[in-house]
Symmetry: C2
Subunit: 392 residues, 2 copies
């Protein structure tokens, strides 16, 4: 995995500050996500083979589904059991999904254990499948002693716990992500190892680019209040949603923000590039590129009458085409003097995905600490919840 | 369909300017999309019943796929044939989709007739299904006399034409959207009628809110350079992508922009709301709400031990929950003094979708005309294309 910064910046004081802020969070043990690569190992021996199920159902919203979905979309293959995500109280979406699910293993996931959308959908699912106490096909993932956890105890259901000091949007490497992936037939040990490797390398000062990028972003948040992520693979579609939550909920506070915008290349070159090229600027841009996608898929060397102008890619692979699109777009935007960086992933292995996740979580923490905001809370969402309750 | 503006604004001169700019575009006939509700009627009698196919395949990118996908996702039901969109030169995405498609009716869609991603994917599909000249299962949709059109003639394939004066991102109501939808079993007459109805009402000055909103957006683009769309239904997921292309490629020019950001409620309340509530502001926000989703889906009146705090929604419908979430979020954001507007759709019928599409296209035209930019070109994407070609 390679991290390239295409902008000049040096501020040793701020870069060091980023490093030591993270080191302090890590060593104090107060911020839990740094330690998930070790603490989540316990889930790896979980065995679902005594349960009869054809699909995995995740009932959860936000931090309880986005990360798992991101990994699942990158990793799934023909041996993976399908995971259905019931994550929105949209009645048609719920009906469409329920009509496809016959024999599920169900995970109800809510850190607080009382998320209104999640519990409401759960009630519908409970009635739909006529679930009863003691059901092997129903599990919960939540904080210890949360309302949902106590419900699980009273119904004699398996419960998997999220460490108290791991926030929802930082929880993908906890039981929240690990357990449903296992149930779908994905053995996520390398995910944890990859995350651990990135973290350890960082604290050995081998990933200094992160400190530099965080320092630049924090110092210039007024000039560059937007970060555009351009991920060059359809498989990263949910990953970009996860990134949007991570940045948006962590870094929009106290009148400061770095607004995340996620795009997929090359599709969104046909959508958003014009605005980047000729609009108002004021954005940092991050490219994610995947070097190799399983076995190469070749663009056949077919010459079609009148379409000769497209033959220059004949015989190349789609890998080559999509990555050269990424390069070309990057170069065009560099000419506009955007602060650009690029993350190059060899392939979408679990190990690399683990690294990428830990990278983004630590980057978020570093920027937040330099912006002097609380990266880990979300006080702004409470008002809406109070208003909602008063509407019933 | 209701359009509510929750901000005070009056500038009769600018509002009138928006109106008359659009009237001029419409009456001059130079901008084609206004006339699609009439000119696309010719496609409605197209009959695919003599062709043997189980799936529809759309090979197209950007304006050649986003709009069709948006409508398909809102409308599809168990009687609709599946539409697969091959829209990215991502090798795994292509492989995954090809493995699911057995007997397709294929539409190759490119306005210019030489889009490199589209033609490359087409060559792969051509080899995969061993397609030959005269194939009934292969059609093209493109501009008359484009390279792809000439290819179709030489291969004796059916070709459907996009009017020259209809840009890609404004083409969803042309053959680009109408023909594949028809092939999937969706009869889109009401889509065209809805679009026509909105357009005609507008020119009878019955949709003045559009002029007001456009005038406000254009006059304040420096203070509010971002428009956040919060659509409260999973079914609007691709619609928001369509909107992002429409705004982004039309309104990012000459050092000006209104940057579109699309979100889905209530999912993204758990992702992006914090930043809106406590970040840097400077955004306009648009809510889209769907009043009724087919037959209501009720949250069962189930009381679960320890989860009593969620019982306040028991017996309500999911429609009610998701729409009250929308209301609550809107009220919370109104307290932060954002310029907010809300579009309320009775239901996701073809007629209402047609209205919504025409509304957004005309809104884009109105804002663009007041910003004094060329809404319909995209000169900024050419540099990347030139760089790409030189990489092979």
């Amino acid at each position: 995995m390679k991290f390239n910064l295409y902008f000049e910046y040096e501020n040793k004081t701020k870069e060091n500050e980023a490093f030591f802020n993270l080191l302090k969070e890590f060593e104090s043990g107060k911020i839990g996500y740094y330690h998930l690569p070790e603490s989540s190992l316990e889930f790896l021996n979980k065995d679902f083979s005594n349960i009869d199920y054809d699909e995995v159902m995740v009932i959860g919203i936000g931090g309880s589904s986005l990360g798992t979905k991101a990994i699942y979309e990158m990793i799934k293959d023909k041996n993976t059991k399908p995971i259905f995500f019931l994550e929105n109280p949209d009645p048609i979406d719920i009906k469409r999904k329920l009509s496809k699910i016959k024999k599920p293993l169900i995970f109800v996931i809510s850190k607080s254990g009382k998320t209104i959308e999640t519990i409401s959908i759960f009630k519908k699912v409970l009635a739909h499948f006529d679930l009863k106490p003691n059901s092997k096909n129903l599990k919960v993932i939540t904080d210890k002693n949360s309302p949902l956890d106590k419900f699980a105890t009273s119904w004699k259901l398996d419960a998997f716990h999220i460490p108290k000091n791991v926030g929802g949007r930082f929880s993908v490497l906890s039981a929240v992500g690990i357990v449903p992936l296992l149930a779908a037939g994905i053995y996520p040990k390398n995910l944890l190892l990859g995350a651990k490797e990135f973290r350890d390398n960082f604290f050995e000062k081998k990933e200094w680019h992160l400190c530099k990028k965080a320092a630049f972003y924090a110092e210039n948040y007024k000039e560059y209040p937007i970060n555009v992520l351009f991920a060059y693979s359809t498989l990263l579609n949910s990953f970009k949603e996860w990134y949007v939550q991570l940045f948006g909920e962590s870094l929009g506070k106290n009148g400061k923000e770095i607004m995340p915008v996620g795009h997929i290349g090359s599709i969104d070159q046909h959508s958003f590039l014009q605005l980047l090229m000729e609009g108002m600027g004021r954005k940092t841009i991050t490219f994610i590129k995947v070097n190799s996608f399983e076995t190469p898929l070749i663009i056949p060397d077919i010459k079609l009458p009148y379409l000769e102008a497209t033959d220059f890619v004949n015989g190349a692979s789609f890998e080559e085409l999509i990555n050269k699109e990424c390069e070309a777009t990057k170069e065009a935007l560099l000419a506009k003097e955007y602060p650009i960086d690029e993350i190059t992933i060899d392939d979408l292995s679990l190990k690399n995905i683990g690294k990428l996740i830990m990278y983004y979580e630590m980057l978020t923490s570093a920027i937040g600490s330099l912006l002097e905001i609380n990266t880990y809370n979300q006080p702004g969402v409470e008002l809406g919840k109070t208003i909602l309750r008063n509407k019933f």
